[in-house]
């Protein structure tokens, strides 16, 4: 008898094999930086001029944000100063027979200078960074607007690393100084006021261990 209808044999439904995630080597998580970040392991979107193609940045460092407190307080005082001396300033302009527009212009100029003071202090902090890569240590120094210096040293030239953490403030906010001693007449690297100095010293120590044994 001819078969009118033959039900198709239902193949056991199998889910499409999801692409196997072949992880030859576990990649280190990369974290993006915040605007005020002072310490970041495996930072994303950070690079420097002399960086090689395959050179990965392991650690991003800059002074702890709390070290900005002195100039932040000074800025706050400078902002409030003309408000406290408003009466005195108006008396002064009257006694000197100066038109009020002079006072206005000079006041605007004063606040522009205060802004510049804060801005320069901020960028001095912002651009003075240290980077530890797989191959070298990069120290970018930026101060007094007209001075900047980029110092680098290969990891195999590092001889010793130590750190200091003194005072209540440094202990409370967990920041301190890390000193990297280099071989020969190469200048030493001082990372001052950086967060987690113990961890930084440990990372550099591990790296120079790897480099020396490689």
């Amino acid at each position: 008898m001819p078969e009118v209808f033959v039900a198709k044999e239902e193949k056991p439904k199998t889910k499409k094999n999801p692409k196997r995630e072949i992880r030859e080597e576990p990649e280190k998580p990369v974290d993006s930086l915040g605007f005020f970040t002072s310490y970041q392991e495996n930072p994303a979107l950070v690079s420097f001029q002399t960086q090689e193609q395959d050179e990965r940045i392991i650690l991003f460092l800059r002074r702890h944000f709390i070290t900005n407190l002195p100039w932040l307080l000074t800025t706050a005082v400078l902002i409030l100063l003309p408000i406290f001396f408003a009466g005195f300033l108006s008396q002064l302009t009257e006694s000197l027979l100066l038109p009020e527009r002079f006072l206005f212009i000079l006041l605007v100029f004063y606040y522009l200078i205060v802004f510049a003071y804060a801005f320069i202090n901020f960028i001095t902090w912002f651009y003075a960074i240290s980077l530890i890569t797989e191959k070298e240590i990069v120290d970018v120094d930026f101060s007094d607007i007209i001075y900047h210096n980029v110092a680098t040293t290969k990891l195999n030239l590092i001889e010793d690393v130590d750190y200091t953490q003194t005072g209540i403030l440094q202990s409370f906010f967990d920041f301190g100084d890390v000193y990297v001693q280099t071989a020969g007449n190469k200048p030493n690297f001082d990372f001052l006021g950086i967060p987690k100095p113990k961890a930084v010293a440990s990372i550099v120590h591990n790296l120079i261990g790897q480099t020396n044994y490689a």
Partner: protein, 78 residues
């Protein structure tokens, strides 16, 4: 009357002198703002820190524009 006139004249002269000093001061401030802007640009070439470099550049540019505006305002209203 001549005494009053000389007083007004000396006052005008002192105001004019003050205006020159202030305008000169603002001019030098523009140069300073230019240096700041240039340094920020140089630093952005040396290190790239996420996308914050362009934001800092923008602030430096606004500072420069502020300095130029103040100079021009001083020229007009003083």
């Amino acid at each position: 009357m001549p005494e009053e006139l000389s007083f007004i004249f000396s006052l005008l002269q002192s105001t004019l002198l003050l205006k020159i000093v202030v305008v000169l001061m603002f001019f030098f401030y523009i140069l300073f703002a230019l240096i700041v802007f240039n340094q920020v640009r140089v630093m952005n070439n040396i290190v790239k820190i996420a996308h914050f470099g362009s934001f800092i550049s923008l602030i430096a540019l606004l500072h420069l524009i502020g300095a130029i505006s103040l100079f021009l305002i001083a020229l007009v209203i003083l």
